[in-house]
């Protein structure tokens, strides 16, 4: 089922090259009349196939700018971004993108919102609906297909947004604080579902968050950013003695606490 849309990309390149590579990217914004402000200074990392990587950083350090550069919505001032070993030109294909705001269209029902990406990819109407319904069902929203977003709770809306992100079958997911507006219970459940849906199809996930526990709970690796101009100050490989879909059990382990404490120290919260 994976990568049914992206047929044009050469297959051999995909095997060898990591899906996403950031090579020394930096970004400066010039304020009106003032000198340029450096937001991001030379960040390099790679995201392998099937890997879940989190980027944590103090608030306002430019995480969202970084994400927008990675998905081709914003051009870096220096350095380059490679998707499957190639320089990107605009928004790359096979990308799933999700923000803290669910960004559901209020005039579309949950089902129609999930179908949006498929509609844009010109998937035939019947297949579109079948796939969207299947995704809603997998996220436990089968009964709410006909509901408008205004009738759904925050947790359910974010689930619909996740289904919309996953429906076009993206290889790489870039998520920017996707669950930070949710209550603890909804958050744990949707984190668990995200992890298993990503692992299942060997997708790659880059999660940008300020929630250290979320980062440790979900990821294989955590990258820690510094204050502005931000750069990577530390990298943690997360190893926990429980299956990674056991969100609560994971949080109770000693290793989890150690990782969280170490990252907190590095975050240098002032």
């Amino acid at each position: 089922m994976s990568a049914t849309i992206d047929t044009a990309a050469p297959q051999p390149a995909r095997r060898q090259e990591p899906p996403v590579q950031a090579c020394g990217i930096g970004k400066s914004f010039s304020a009106t009349g003032g000198a340029a402000t450096e937001i991001i200074r030379s960040i390099s990392f790679s995201l392998a196939r099937g890997e879940i990587v989190s980027i944590v950083g103090p608030s306002g350090c430019g995480k969202t700018t970084l994400l927008n550069m990675l998905c081709g919505l914003l051009e870096p001032s220096s350095g380059g971004i490679l998707w499957h070993g190639r320089e990107i030109d605009g928004v790359p294909r096979g990308l799933g993108y999700m923000l803290q705001k669910d960004l559901l269209l209020p005039w579309r029902t949950a089902l129609q919102n999930v179908m949006l990406g498929l509609r844009i990819a010109r998937v035939p109407a019947r297949e579109r609906e079948e796939r969207a319904r299947a995704w809603l069902a997998r996220l436990g929203l089968a009964d709410f297909a006909g509901y408008y977003p205004s009738a759904l709770s925050g947790g359910m809306r974010q689930r619909v947004a996740l289904a919309r992100t996953l429906a076009p079958d993206p290889e790489v997911l870039l998520l920017d604080e996707p669950f930070s507006a949710l209550d603890f219970q909804s958050k744990i459940l949707i984190e668990r579902d995200t992890v298993s849906l990503v692992r299942e199809e060997h997708r790659s996930l880059l999660l940008i968050t300020h929630d250290v526990e979320e980062a440790v709970g979900m990821s294989d690796r955590v990258l820690v950013l510094s204050h502005r101009p931000c750069s990577i100050v530390a990298e943690h490989s997360i190893r926990l003695p429980v299956p990674r879909t056991e969100m609560i059990a994971a949080r109770e382990t000693r290793e989890f606490a150690q990782h969280v404490r170490a990252i907190w120290t590095e975050l240098d919260i002032r």
Partner: protein, 288 residues
């Protein structure tokens, strides 16, 4: 809280945090108290109207000169009955109503089309902006003499007046709606692989139509004003014509009778638009 497998992830939060029931509970709570209050309000309104009409009638009965100058409720009723009997009430109402509706529809369609087209071309919108502002600042009433000269004294000139009264407002609403689309929403569409045309079609058009639909109640009133002003200037029939004629002949009660019919027409049109709005915006739970 373990998951059997990847398939069919069950989620406790869908059942637990379902918004719909809470919303319904809130609605009934909101509905229960006002039902009692509503009756009191209505009764007070009826008493107020009765009181005013009674005083008016009393004051004009005692002094016939006053009745000539200010009209009287009983004479208004007589005039109303007469217009119903000779059929002019229905004719005038139907004519003014159709002028209003036609101008309302045409104005909104044109306004939405132009406003949306301006999103498509940043350049065109920059060029046209001052002209739109200029057009929007003209009191449409001031255009009536020219409109009569250009479009004649029949239906077309009233349609033009009603359309002109609506079109600029609709245009500005559509343009603002289109330009006000959340940039994050546009980024999301781009991330999903949408080009400019698809962003326009799937995001900008529905978003600004939502604003236009929400503005319909405002513009239907403008259309009615336009049609009546057009009839004031030059016409052979319609409510505006009837009011103008009765006023010129100093039949004040007749003026009030036609005015009452105009108010009823405005309320009827506004009720129709509310219905249409609810039908066009089914996701707006605040309208249901």
């Amino acid at each position: 809280m373990s998951v059997p497998s990847g398939q069919n992830l069950t989620s406790a939060d869908t059942a637990a945090s379902l918004a719909a029931p809470t919303r319904r509970v809130a609605a009934t709570q909101r509905g229960a108290r006002p039902r009692h209050e509503w009756a009191t309000v209505l009764a007070s309104q009826l008493i107020l109207v009765g009181l005013l009409l009674g005083l008016w009638e009393l004051a004009t009965r005692s002094e016939p000169a006053r009745a000539f100058l200010y009209g009287s409720p009983s004479a208004i009723l007589t005039n109303l009955v007469r217009t119903v009997r000779d059929g002019s009430l229905w004719q005038d109402t139907a004519l003014t109503g159709s002028e209003t509706l036609a101008g309302f529809v045409l104005g909104n369609v044109l306004g939405a089309a132009i406003g949306l087209a301006l999103w498509y071309s940043r350049f065109a919108s920059r060029v046209l902006q001052p002209f739109i502002l200029a057009l929007g600042s003209i009191p449409i009433v001031a255009l009536a003499p020219i409109v009569i000269i250009w479009f004649g004294t029949g239906f077309a000139s009233k349609l033009a007046m009603a359309t002109l009264s609506v079109v600029v407002v609709a245009l500005v609403i559509a343009y603002k709606g289109a330009m006000g689309v959340d940039p994050d929403q546009i980024n999301l569409m781009r991330a999903l692989g949408a080009g400019k045309h698809q962003i326009f079609l799937h995001l900008v058009v529905p978003a600004s139509l939502t604003d236009i639909f929400a503005g319909l109640k405002l513009t239907v009133g403008f259309a009615l004003v336009g049609a009546i002003v057009g009839e004031f200037m030059s016409s052979a029939a319609g409510l505006g014509h009837a009011i103008f004629k009765a006023g010129s002949l100093y039949i004040i009660s007749r003026v009030f009778a036609e005015l009452a019919v105009t108010i009823l027409l405005a309320l009827l049109l506004s009720a129709i638009v509310s219905r249409v709005e609810r039908w066009l915006l089914p996701w707006r739970h605040d309208l249901q």
